[in-house]
């Protein structure tokens, strides 16, 4: 039973790869005095992935705005794609009846409440993995380093690299550009003396954590470092699976794989976990 202020935590779709991030966000929101109800996955998709079919995209937007309206609570968005798609398109074609903010915005505005919760030392020199885009909507490239600087032991160093786009997942279909992002991220981390690269978005984490698996640099999401400093217990299983490659099958275990189906796991899940960045440049 909680007496916090009810909010809807709209986490998006692909962050479902990272249960630790979702669980940590919920615990952080509770610690800040909210009572978050998480919603996401394909049934709450914003429709941004359906550029090639605007009838489908429009239907998804109408359904999701309607469902969020029914919840009658302010919405805190996690996903930058969902957040920008709501502002750019979804609310233009539907009547949004809820207030909405982005998690980084809320955490940054709650620094006075967040600071006393960050009690555990996290000795680490970190460089934020930054993109050019999205910052006009939420200045994450300024806010996230300010949040990270509140963690005891964390030193934030400036990297000299700003990746194009607004997040890494868009580059899955542009391999040369993604190779450049990987190479420049490693170069900038080394040049800045960082122990680790920290991402703001899960879409970047999914791609950049491959650098960790390849031994090029340690990689975290900013929520994972806040959670660690708060003493939250969630394990980053995605990173463990990614590092393990083929060994992920053993880590995940037959019981969980059976829920997915072994054929689908081997065809569509395991290749992602085995994929490594091209660092040959």
């Amino acid at each position: 039973m909680t007496s916090g202020s009810p909010v809807t935590f709209w986490y998006g779709c692909n962050v479902l790869r990272h249960g630790d991030i979702i669980h940590s966000c919920l615990d952080i929101l509770r610690a800040l005095g909210y009572d978050p109800s998480p919603v996401g996955g394909p049934d709450y998709c914003c429709g941004t992935v359906k550029d090639a079919n605007q009838t489908t995209a429009g239907g998804m937007a109408t359904r999701t705005v309607g469902r969020l309206n029914q919840r009658a609570a302010p919405v805190i968005a996690w996903c930058p794609s969902c957040h920008s798609h709501m502002h750019d398109f979804m609310e233009k074609g539907n009547d949004r009846q809820f207030d909405m903010t982005y998690l980084v915005d809320l955490l940054h505005a709650s620094r006075d409440k967040l600071a006393p919760l960050l009690v555990h030392l996290v000795p680490m020199r970190v460089m934020l993995h930054k993109h050019i885009g999205f910052n006009e909507l939420v200045p994450v490239n300024r806010m996230v380093p300010e949040l990270l600087s509140m963690i005891p032991g964390v030193e934030v160093v400036d990297g000299d690299y700003l990746a194009p786009g607004y997040m890494c997942a868009s580059f899955a279909i542009l391999p040369k550009a993604l190779d450049d992002i990987h190479a420049n991220t490693v170069r900038a981390a080394k040049a800045s003396g960082a122990d680790a690269v920290v991402t703001t978005f899960h879409q970047c984490y999914r791609e950049i954590v491959g650098l960790d698996a390849a031994g090029a640099t340690a990689v975290y999401n900013y929520i994972q470092l806040l959670a660690r400093s708060m003493g939250l217990p969630y394990e980053d299983e995605y990173k463990a699976w990614k590092r393990a490659g083929d060994g992920a099958t053993q880590l995940i275990g037959a019981e969980r794989i059976a829920k997915v189906g072994i054929e689908f796991y081997e065809r569509a899940v395991l290749p992602e976990l085995k994929k490594r960045p091209n660092l040959s440049k």
């Binding site: 779709c13 996955g41 049934d43 550029d51 239907g59 979804m90 607004y166 550009a177 995940i252 997915v260």
Partner: protein, 142 residues
Amino acid sequence: MSDRPVIGQRLKEFQQSEIERILGACTQCGKCFEVCPMAQYSKAPAADGKAVVPGVLAVLRGEAGSPEALGWIGVCTRSGVCVPACPENVDPKMMMRLARMTALGGRELPKQIDVKQDPDYFNRVRAFAKLQLTDDELKEWT
């Protein structure tokens, strides 16, 4: 005739009104292309933005885009540096987004670019959810 609303009709009307605004405001100066950090990755690189932007506007009108315009549309990843670069407040990021939707065939016009679709996209999301969340969380959170 049915009274049922057409799916996504208001969104389509918004998109059409944005297209008309953009077509009316853009002077084809090419500044948006010149500042774009992704132009270098185009399949049909161009040296001059003035030669590329007319092809983007053609796509928005439902006409065939030039190879240079389609190449640029195919690599737009929404960096947004084009927005402050535009002297006419066209919002080239919106221009490129709508051009991409159109060129992909998303606005019921002929497809002009082919971007590899991931047929497992949502099923992969669902699979990772099953690996990461409990049955109760799956039921209540997704």
